[in-house]
């Protein structure tokens, strides 16, 4: 099966109502081209999962694509302020904000990767998160009799991860911080890789021990140079300050539609570009 697809084809694999997990962390190596395409395709009722999200979650909340967000932290960093579309969505009751402790997202994904229904979590033993959320339960440890918190496993239907290099089989290498991306790739039922460039298999073979996500786990591959922008991508580009600053000022869906439109040429560029084969 041919794994290399256009951005439209790959994002079209996502169904309304799917649980979707994004790679990266806050403004770093988030799969933003794919996020923009999800918004363009007007996906609905997505359940987003991420330890710490920023524009990825905020943009999809703004465009009414989201039913719930499971995350430990949703905000831009200090300089750019709060994720206002996410906040308004939760405050109006349109979006369910499922707050986690970052680590409990990790544990919920570890549960998926091991195919167990829940994971015991140390640490989370006090406060209202335990009381208000049905995905946490405190039980008696059958071995010691001590209380232990369980977090319900989250199995993403789709994971979207942006990488610097990937071959046509999907063998992917992440340069710099990997954040939770390797775990996400093991937890999800379907993995979509967006990559700065598709490189020859022979080149990846020189570095097999550096492969973070082996191709057999990968369902689809999209070549999207600058596919994390305006987030940063290590060794490739920094955060696009102008784009993030412009976005956080936008309040209407029309403004954001124009913003998405302005990215179209760039987002679809990789499909027309030759691959380095």
């Amino acid at each position: 099966m041919k794994k290399v697809k256009s951005l439209k084809e790959a994002v079209n694999l996502i169904n309304d109502g799917d649980t979707v997990s994004f790679g990266g962390n806050v403004l770093h190596r988030a799969p933003m081209a794919a996020v923009r395409e999800i918004a363009r395709q007007n996906k609905k009722s997505l359940k987003l999962v991420k330890t710490a999200g920023a524009q990825d979650i905020d943009l999809l909340c703004a465009m009414d694509c989201v039913e719930s967000v499971d995350a430990g932290f949703v905000s831009y960093e200090t300089k750019y302020g709060l994720a206002n579309h996410y906040r308004q969505g939760v405050q109006s009751g349109k979006i369910k904000g499922n707050e986690h402790a970052c680590y409990t997202v990790i544990c919920a994904l570890r549960g998926a990767s091991m195919n167990v229904p829940f994971m015991p979590v140390k640490g989370l033993n006090a406060g209202d998160l335990l009381v208000k959320n049905d995905y946490f339960v405190v039980v008696e440890d059958p071995f010691s009799g001590e209380p232990i918190t369980l977090v319900k496993t989250i199995v993403p239907d789709v994971a979207i991860i942006h990488v610097q290099e990937c071959d046509e089989k999907g063998n992917a290498i992440i340069y710099g911080p990997k954040f939770e991306d390797i775990l996400i790739s093991r937890a999800a039922n379907k993995v979509i890789i967006t990559t700065e460039q598709i490189v020859p298999e022979s080149r990846i073979k020189l570095n097999t021990e550096r492969i973070d996500i082996p191709g057999f786990l990968v369902h689809s591959i999209v070549q999207v140079p600058n596919g994390a922008a305006p987030a940063s991508c290590y060794k490739k580009y920094e955060v696009d300050d102008k784009s993030v600053s412009a976005f956080i000022k936008m309040s209407s869906k029309d403004e954001i539609r124009d913003y998405l439109k302005a990215y179209e040429t760039k987002d679809y560029l990789g499909e027309r570009m030759g691959r380095r084969l």
Partner: protein, 241 residues
């Protein structure tokens, strides 16, 4: 707010630095420029073997000067000694081997309850806050949890928090006015910054202050201020002010 050549952000950075000891494993997260600079200052001054841990996984980055918009960026790994990612930092804390964690929050009460989640009802909040990030698992498990907050007013230090994201096992809270110590289940006023006064702390705190004696936070030394200029030339420690 310049008094005798230093600012409140300098006081906060220096007093946090002085809370850190040599050889401790210390973690800061996202949006955490001030503690990041304090850790670097401690390493340059009295704690050369302090272990600096962060989200991108860079152990002991040699420079923090590139971290302008983010304290979770790849630059912290680019100049690091080793790779130890977030997942593993959490596991380390669960094993009881994380000495210090820096955490935020929006509301605090005298009983050491921390709110980083919502104002109002959890399921339909008046204000949805960014979330506690790792707080709910790190505050209970790190040996010392230090909270810093650049706002000190009656909306921040309240009688009772709207929502308890986590509680207990705090160690210190550092604000622009003072330092609180968490002891025997209560926040105690430990010291007042030289730029503030007991009256100012009282007027801006929504609960009755508990203290044995009035002490003042040490002013930054000339050496500390000179070192800060070197390690933090772009003044990231003041970003939140």
């Amino acid at each position: 707010m310049m008094t005798e050549g230093y600012r409140v952000s300098d006081i906060m950075t220096c007093c946090i630095s002085n809370m850190l000891q040599d050889n401790e494993t210390v973690f800061h997260g996202v949006s955490s420029h001030l503690p990041m600079v304090a850790m670097k200052l401690a390493k340059s001054m009295h704690a050369p073997d302090l272990v600096h841990l962060n989200i991108p996984g860079g152990v002991n980055p040699s420079s923090i000067k590139q971290a302008s918009y983010s304290s979770a960026g790849a630059d912290l790994l680019g100049t690091a000694e080793a790779y130890f990612p977030l997942e593993e930092v959490f596991d380390l804390s669960m094993r009881g081997k994380l000495d210090v964690a820096f955490l935020g929050g929006i509301q605090f009460d005298v009983n050491g309850n921390v709110n980083a989640s919502v104002i109002g009802d959890y399921h339909k909040p008046k204000v949805r806050l960014p979330g506690g990030a790792g707080s709910a698992v790190l505050i209970p498990t790190a040996k010392k949890a230090i909270i810093w907050r650049v706002k000190h007013d009656k909306r921040t230090f309240v009688e009772t928090v709207d929502f308890t994201t986590t509680r207990g096992n705090l160690w210190r809270i550092v604000t622009p006015l003072c330092i609180f110590e968490y002891r025997k289940g209560k926040l105690h006023l430990e010291s007042i910054h030289p730029t503030s006064s007991l009256e100012e702390v009282k007027n801006n705190t929504g609960f009755e202050l508990i203290y044995d004696e009035i002490k003042y936070t040490d002013s930054p030394t000339n050496l500390e201020l000179a070192t800060l200029k070197k390690i933090d030339p772009y003044d990231y420690r003041s970003i939140e002010f």
